[in-house]
Amino acid sequence: MTSDDRSVAHAQASAGGSSRRRLLALIVKEYAQIRRDPSTFLIAFAMPLLLLFLFGYAISLDPRETRIAVVAQDESAPAARLVQAYVHSPYFSVTPLRAVAPARALMEQDAIRGFVVIPPDFGVSMASGAPRPIQIVTDGTQPNQATFIASYAEGVRLNWIASEMDMRGIRGAAPPIDVSQRVWFNPGLQSRFFLVPGAIAIVMTMIGTLLTALVVAREWERGTMEALLATPMRMTEFIASKVLPYFLLGLASMVLCTVIAVAVFGLPFRGSIFALMAIAAAFLLPALGLGLYISAATKNQFVASQMALLLSFLPTFLLSGFIFEIGSMPWPIQAMTYAVPARYLIPALQTVFMAGDIWPIILPNILIMLGFGVGFFILCFRATRRSLDS
């Protein structure tokens, strides 16, 4: 494009409402493209359902019926009562055994996650007033479950000792310091309550970054982008036309997700719709900006898809603090989390669902997300312009 052409384009653009008409035409084009491609609706509406469903049901961090074995090497009455205590615990599903060897084999096959051994002279030692310790063996290949089994198996034993002492009339069996916990916002301690807002964050990321990265990379790959850029449209119009439809799609999807979260998964919604929409809008800006930037920088659908996965989906999943506590990560990773927009989305979303409109949390997060948005759009402008000149 020569400078003459450019000034002509400018003159045309400034003439009356032609700029608005151009933008409208571009948006109509984008809308037609979205409507014609079923995959867009797949990602905007089918994907949220799938993700919410999976996070609502599949990833439950609330333990139930962990498979263990109880090896009773003693046949005394107290040992039998202890075995029963394990069998009746709601946290364990128990295979009763008599020897350690089969337990070892079951553990090797992944059929049980741990076992408890009650030693041979357990009943006798009980009677003498100094019970022998039982052994708790766990499968360390899954450290979380191992810790859980160790502490809950011990808990079952402690309760059992208290009840044995009650039977013998020994007083003071109750623990001297009892911790009574009250859980605010989520009294039932359902992991779903924080996993579902996390799933919503992933959905927003998918629509904002992945979908746009793919759509625009396809235009570059097929050469239709050059055709678009040869028209008299301006850069801002071009970017606005790419952003607006997906922005609206994202907001619509957020509404859908919220309705499902509340109606199907029973999440509370204690904040306001206004706060929710403000949070969603603030997050969609950096998400869309990143998507456009990836597509302009790669111009190849396969590479763009992989980069979008790496730069948006995985960080949202891993580094946003929704499953894995940021405070527990090593400091270089903690530092990386500050560059992940979803890190600011998660606490805001969790707050608006479970706690209410607590602006001291919501507002700073919104501002930071907007800041990221501006940054990504500047990158976008530069990447697109540079590729035009070259």
Partner: protein, 370 residues
């Protein structure tokens, strides 16, 4: 026969070139998986550390102070923030300045001094209920430990149970993450590469050219399978070496079994990737399709959350998930020195999934062509 062999070889060579020709794609094949491995390894810890906890102490006695000191001294907590009132506590929790707050009642010390049992209040932020629960576990442990020093003789003599963690005695979290990641990252890459390869040819129109060539459907499919298989094997071995030598995770099983299991696992994944590509017309659809397949495979594998915790009907669905079986194999081969007989118990379901998905893909391709 030899003509068939030449055709097959040409097809494989062509597919490998198609994958490796573009320098950007070459980098994408190896670099993101490695980055994923590193970030996953360090980020996915379910420990809770460096937490700030609030304190509302209405007792001010010696026992209360001793208990708080023990909490302050434990490595899981960073700071104990003294809050003057329950109103201040409410605000601190609302604004996530603390994840939990201890409330020590006025009669706490008096009751302990009198030998009565007493209660320690703990308020948790349910927005992060999982971390909060782990935190509550730490506090209960410390309180129970302090309480045990004041407990009756029988409880004291009963002592604690002897806890042993097999295969990973110090419960090093990386020993769990790294073997699991071998299974996960290969599944992500395997399905994505397979489904994209076919979709790209279709989008560019070169797929039709393949169809009119003398190549048989079987030969085309095998040609499409070989490059992702090779990339996956290479990444798998690379990850194994990184896990063993860079992170010191013991590999106690047989390397040969690992390779055999990898091949079966990859075939099952590639079958699913081909199914996705047979059903999609554009690269975008293929990418989304592979995403829609991969995410449930990972979430249902037992890596993200134990399968035991899932509802029963969902546990049944996990039997169709190849990642589930390979996860057990790879954890077993790394840490449990899993013998061949146990590996085969997990291998045959993989073989069944591979046969079903590959033949379904072949059937779909044929159906599409006619």
């Amino acid at each position: 026969m030899s003509a068939a062999f030449t055709r097959q070889r040409a097809m494989i060579v062509k597919e490998i070139w198609a994958l490796l020709r573009d320098p950007k794609s070459r980098i994408v094949l190896v670099l993101p998986p490695l980055i994923q491995l590193l970030i996953f390894t360090f980020a996915t810890t379910l420990d809770v550390k460096n937490v700030d906890i609030g304190l509302v102490d209405q007792s001010g006695g010696i026992h209360a102070r001793e208990l708080v000191q023990r909490i302050e001294g434990s490595p899981q907590f960073r700071d104990v923030i003294v809050l003057p009132s329950t109103a201040a506590m409410e605000e601190a929790i609302d604004e996530q300045k603390v994840m939990a707050a201890l409330v020590i009642q006025a009669d706490f010390d008096r009751r302990i001094a009198r030998g009565e049992s007493t209660t320690l209040g703990l308020v948790l932020d349910g927005r992060r209920s999982n971390a909060a629960q782990i935190l509550a576990g730490y506090v209960s442990g410390i309180a129970a430990g302090y309480g045990a020093e004041l407990a009756p003789a029988m409880v004291r003599r009963a002592g604690a149970s002897e806890v042993t963690h097999w295969y990973n005695p110090s419960l090093d979290y990386m020993w769990f993450t790294l073997p699991g990641l071998v299974a996960l990252i290969i599944s992500i890459a395997g399905i994505a590469i397979t489904s994209q390869a076919v979709a790209r040819e279709r989008e560019l129109g070169t797929f039709d050219q393949l169809m009119v060539s003398p190549l048989r459907v079987r030969e085309i499919l095998i040609g499409m399978m070989v490059p992702p298989l090779l990339v996956g094997m290479m990444n798998g071995v690379l990850f194994l070496l990184v896990a063993k030598f860079a992170f010191g995770v013991p590999f106690t099983g047989s390397f040969l079994l690992f390779l055999v299991a990898m091949i079966f696992y990859q075939l099952a994944l590639i079958g699913m990737g081909l199914l996705v590509s047979a059903m999609s017309m554009t690269q975008q659809q293929a990418f989304l399709g592979s995403f829609i397949v991969t995410v449930p495979l990972i979430l249902l594998s037992g890596y993200a959350a134990p399968i035991d915790n899932m509802p029963d009907w969902l546990q049944i669905i996990t039997y169709a998930d190849p990642v589930r079986y390979f996860l057990i194999i790879v954890q077993g081969l790394f840490l449990k020195a899993m013998p061949a007989s146990v590996v085969f118990q997990q291998l045959w379901p993989l073989a069944v999934i591979a046969v079903i998905s590959l033949s379904a893909a072949a059937w779909l391709f044929r159906a599409r062509m006619e």
